[in-house]
């Protein structure tokens, strides 16, 4: 039905295209004038007017019709319908399902309820038939009126091109509005749910509390149900892992970028750059099990061996500690995340180093500086602000990264700076809070939104600062 209407509209719109175009061509030919716009614009103008208003009516009706039907028929349910919820609503659903030709629920209705159900379903289908007919007429009218309007405009002196360009501009605006509105919607829902959370747990406690154990607060009547929502350990864990990741990614990525930008021949560049970028294409879940199954056990074995070696010596205590190190630790998650970030850092830094004008390098070489002096003293200082921006962008990715930490860092919420400890991060907690069967209203579930909002604000600030630095730097040399 819907598809048929669309096809009809398309045919009608195509027809108006041809008609309007012919009309303008003939009129122009008859009067010997040149039309203001090329004939195809007149055609496109007519076709747009024939199709778009009708489409808007169609979409509006398609969205509104089921609501209208429910509202109208819900108001006069038959007397035999169950009077208590949720059975009363179920009765309505079942009637609608029957009317739509699908299978109703398995609720056992009494005999007169079944009769009432059938009658109600008939009423619903009658109403929807009427609506459909009315809708069809409305769509047809909209198409016809739009087409007629455009037809009346199809004269050689009409500025069809400008009108079409306005339509196109409007269309592009609408598509970009979708993206913006979606973002806005996400942020608003995040804020809204967070506000609900902050009604039970004060923001001050959330942001400064050092105890995180939402598990004990599943039931609201438990003592201390709001005692475990201090997010500080999560942020400590997040920043610890981010720090390790950046310590890995920053030097390696930057030096790779320097090599690529300053030392590599065109041939080496053509091979190394794509290979590095393959790293960026690996799904994070693959890094995750690489961390959990390969790097974690390897690090553990290494530390345990080191511990054994130290036993009995002056560092006996350290040896004992190292022998007890487990697979899951901040170090593993951080290092693997750092590896994931290397291509990101290196390709951004490579662009930035390449943007340093050749004239600066020439100036330095002409002073008798060597290549490494030139890089150290001229190229890198010139690129530094931009590279710093790239690092901040990488850091904000590290903060938001979830998969690797979920698989490799553990679940212990604790305040520690020891990279061999198992820690947990904000993103991991959000995942564990929201996966599985959850009661949507409990502070436990809602705390995920509080964490999400805080994380969002932190990364937003990082991104804004980073982008401003990078941009400022770009302007400097244009």
């Amino acid at each position: 039905m819907f598809g048929l209407v669309l096809i009809c509209l398309a045919v009608f719109s195509a027809a108006t295209y041809g008609l309007a175009r012919r009309k303008v061509l003939q009129a122009a030919h008859g009067s010997g004038t040149r039309p203001h716009s090329r004939p195809k614009y007149h055609g496109a103008h007519a076709a747009l007017w024939a199709a778009i208003p009708a489409l808007l009516v169609l979409v509006g009706l398609a969205v509104a019709a089921p609501r209208i039907i429910t509202a109208v028929t819900w108001a006069d349910l038959p007397a035999a319908a169950p009077s208590v919820e949720p059975f009363r609503s179920q009765f309505q659903y079942d009637a609608e399902a029957i009317a739509a030709g699908s299978i109703p629920s398995a609720v056992a209705y009494s005999a007169d309820q079944r009769a009432a159900l059938a009658a109600h379903a008939d009423r619903i289908s009658a109403l929807s038939g009427m609506l459909r007919l009315g809708g069809l007429v409305a769509v047809g009218l909209a198409a016809l009126m739009g087409g007629l309007y455009a037809w009346s405009r199809a004269r050689p002196d009409y500025r069809a091109r400008n009108a079409v360009e306005r339509w196109v501009g409007g269309l592009l605006f609408a598509t970009s509005a979708i993206a913006v509105l979606t973002t806005l919607g996400i942020v608003l829902s995040l804020v809204w749910e967070s506000l609900r959370f902050f009604q039970t747990v004060s923001p001050l406690e959330f942001l400064t509390g050092t105890h995180w154990s939402p598990q004990i607060a599943i039931r609201a009547d438990q003592v201390g149900s709001s005692g475990g929502f201090g997010a500080v350990p999560l942020f400590v864990g997040t920043f610890l892992i981010m720090g390790i990741a950046m310590l890995t990614a920053a030097p390696i990525g930057l030096m790779a970028a320097i090599y690529l930008a300053e030392y590599a021949s065109a041939f080496q560049r053509a091979w190394i750059k794509p290979l590095l970028e393959v790293l960026a294409g690996i799904p994070t879940v693959v890094y995750g099990f690489f961390a959990a199954l390969t790097v974690g056990p390897a690090f553990r074995a290494g530390f345990n061996r080191l511990g054994e070696y130290l036993l009995g010596g002056p560092l006996n205590d350290l040896g004992l500690y190292l022998m007890g190190v487990q697979n899951q630790m901040a170090l593993v998650a951080g290092v693997v995340m750092g590896i994931m970030l290397i291509p990101f850092v290196s390709s951004l830094s490579d662009d930035i180093i390449n943007a340093v004008p050749q004239s600066l390098r020439d100036g330095s070489y002409a002073m008798g500086a060597t290549q490494s002096e030139t890089i150290k003293r001229v190229v890198l200082p010139a690129a530094l602000p931009g590279v710093a921006g790239a690092m901040l962008l990488a850091a904000s990715r590290a903060i938001g990264e979830t998969m690797i930490v979920t698989m490799a860092a553990g679940l212990q919420a604790r305040i520690t700076a020891n990279p061999l400890d198992s820690v947990t991060t904000v993103t991991v907690q959000i995942v564990t809070l929201l996966t599985g069967d959850q009661e949507f209203d409990s502070p436990k579930t809602l705390s995920a939104f509080g964490l999400g909002l805080t994380l969002f604000v932190v990364t937003l600030i990082l991104n804004i600062v980073a982008l401003r630095i990078v941009q400022h730097y770009r302007e400097q040399y244009d």
């Binding site: 020439d362 100036g363 008798g368 010139a382």
Partner: protein, 272 residues
């Protein structure tokens, strides 16, 4: 047996104004290739010490390429190949034993667009002395920087803001800063590639004055698009065309009485 390395008969304007201080840079049959493309062929030219040699000619005729041979800046371009002999004080600059880095400390260069480093004015001038380790103390470095800025005629304008960024200066000041940077390492030759083409007439006049003063101490080679500038600042002029030298002469003679028809056409603006 010591075979003469090159023909040392001077390829330079003779006459009453012949170079009083001898030849500083001597080139014989210099050809340059960028990949397969030949940009210079068999250029022979002598450049006198304590004098200004101007290189003129239409765009793309190889003036910059020639200039860049003299301090081996073409080494930094992938695929560039230089043939022929280039001597600085009778020493082959392309010899194995010569380190281009050391050579460039002796042959400074100033580019078309002012290119101060993104550092303070002081650090810009101190750059060369620092990398070559020319000074041993902070105060000595300060002296060198001040001397260079004075000789470049910039000291009075920047003395109270040495810690500001070099790019905060005007275009003409930046170009003088770059000249100060070049003379801070006390070179023997200064190459200038269209040093005024990005400057306004007043800044240009200042640079020309400066070139005239620097001539007392250095061998200067300047590429310029302005015939008037070549006539004002140089003592010897070489006219390049399509990768070759068409005519070399004393500047006053070449501009008033060129021997070649192509030179006459160029300096009277009939092609370019």
């Amino acid at each position: 047996m010591d075979a003469p390395v090159i023909d040392t008969r001077p390829i330079v304007a003779a006459g009453p104004k012949a170079p009083a201080h001898g030849i500083k840079v001597r080139t014989r049959d210099v050809s340059v290739f960028y990949g397969d493309k030949q940009a210079l062929s068999d250029v022979s030219l002598d450049m006198a010490d304590r004098a200004v040699t101007a290189l003129i000619g239409p765009s793309g005729c190889g003036k910059s390429t020639f200039l860049r041979c003299l301090n081996r800046m073409n080494d930094t371009i992938q695929g560039a190949r230089v043939e022929g002999v280039i001597e600085l004080d009778g020493e082959d600059v392309n010899a194995r034993a010569v380190d281009p880095v050391a050579l460039r400390a002796r042959v400074g260069m100033v580019f078309q667009r002012p290119n101060p480093f993104p550092k303070s004015i002081f650090e810009n001038v101190a750059y060369g002395p620092r990398i070559h380790g020319l000074t041993t103390s902070k105060s000595e470095l300060q002296d060198v920087v001040e001397q260079a800025l004075r000789r470049a005629g910039l000291w009075d304008e920047v003395a109270d803001r040495l810690d500001q960024s070099g790019s905060s200066l005007s275009g003409g000041q930046q170009q003088r800063l770059v000249i100060a940077r070049a003379i801070a390492v006390d070179p023997e030759v200064i190459l200038m590639d269209e040093p005024c083409s990005a400057l306004d007439p007043i800044a240009t006049a200042r640079i020309e004055e400066l070139i005239d003063e620097l001539r007392q101490q250095y061998c200067i080679v300047i590429v310029t698009h302005s015939m008037a500038q070549a006539a004002r600042v140089s003592q010897q002029t070489a006219f390049f065309h399509m990768g070759q030298i068409v005519e070399i002469g004393r500047t006053d003679e070449l501009f008033t009485n060129p021997k070649e028809q192509r030179t006459l056409d160029y300096i009277t603006g009939r092609f370019g």
